[in-house]
Amino acid sequence: MIACVLLPRFELTVAAGDREELLRMPAALAPEPGREQRVGEASPAAEAFGVRAGTPLGEALARCPSLTLVPPDPAGVADRWERLLVRLEAIGAAVEPERPGLACFAVRGLLRLHGGSLEHVLGAARHALRQPARLGAGPSRFCALAAASRARVRRPEVVAGGEAEAAAYLAPLPVALLRGRRETAQLPEPLARLGIETLGALAALPTAAVADRFGAAGLLARELACGRDGRLAPRRPPERLAEELELPEALSGVQLDHALRLLVDRLLARRERRGRTLRTVVLSAALVEGGTWREQVPFREALADPLRMRLALAQRLALLPAPAERLRLAVERFGPHASDQRSLLDEADDVRRARLREAVRQARAAAGPDAALRVLAVEAESRVPERRVVLTPFE
């Protein structure tokens, strides 16, 4: 039995903060700066105008001219969601987060811990969350999600039985539920255009026809509609290690690089790191003009070298859409211990040089002797501009 915790419009709720009136009027999350111009989660009033998460911004404003755009708060969402996951894990649940606002966990291992019944487990989960959430349970993840989306805040919905019962429960439900899964989120509209309104109608289609029309996503959707789903893949609870810097005045450019240097040094100096390298970090900032910015940075190889970390992070920091008033660097995943030594002879450099020479040779073979040149400063301080630098063959 799988339990599902659903917090509808989680990202919008977090971004709106204490402006709860926003959720009662047509509102949607504005596109994140520098990303695709599509709105995020929409309030029920905005959905009544046909605005949904993923609607292009222009279309959303055309459909609902009074739409209020709420600046997204990706860092706040990640923090809040992490807190909720930790609370669920505190009752012993091995949680698989699907996206912020939607998580599943297996009930079986928790029954003895929490009174021996499903109701007690769901009650413990609700109590641990300390905020209204819809809870559902079913034989598969998707069935549990469907149950949670039909549940009320104080009354969980439970689908007992196995695959057949799940299929029977799902049959009358709309295909729009497929939006809950990342892999099948794009399917409800084309399915509806073809007149397939319910999951039962989808399950009744021949497998080959679904595969021909919708490919792998369609096959997965049909499996889900038939009450089957993949195994849960619970996350490994992360260690929380973060450093934050309040910037006295909104910084950008070189000063921000100094702040980054300080953050990296502080993070690497933390005792909790215990000599381990960092595999993935999250760089986030609170922006002066409201909202936050968040960028996950997986390193090409696990690092504990501040210089290389700064080189990788500075490129991402350049994407900051506005001056920041607070900068934060958090470890998302650790790598192995930094005691992994390189060979005494730095062969990687030799390999790299050999590859570079080969690339230059090939470029020259294809485009002539002038194909690979480098800029060489010969008289950098000369007052005559044409004497300062020359282009010379790359050696």
Binding site: P369, S382, V384, E386, V390, E395
Partner: protein
């Protein structure tokens, strides 16, 4: 590398400049009227060898908004643009 040559960057290229006879101030560059002169400076270099350089540089803004650097070769004559 055989066949490859060394290229100088920022080579001067000949420009069509109308200048005020009194002080040499550019009035038009390549057919575009000069809106403002931002700066002017004199470069005298290499006077110690056989190929001395004497140039009067002008940094100008044309009416179309382009920022150009031109110079008048005070030895050989002629106007040149240079980046």
């Amino acid at each position: 590398m055989s066949g490859a040559r060394t290229h100088r960057l920022a080579r001067p290229r000949r420009a069509r400049v109308e200048a005020r006879p009194a002080d040499g101030r550019p009035l038009a560059v390549d057919g575009r009227a000069v809106d403002a002169v931002r700066e002017s400076w004199l470069v005298e270099d290499r006077w110690w060898n056989g190929s001395p350089v004497r140039r009067r540089y002008w940094e100008v803004v044309t009416t179309c908004g382009r920022n150009l650097v031109v110079f008048h070769d005070l030895r050989g004559g002629g106007w040149f643009a240079q980046r």
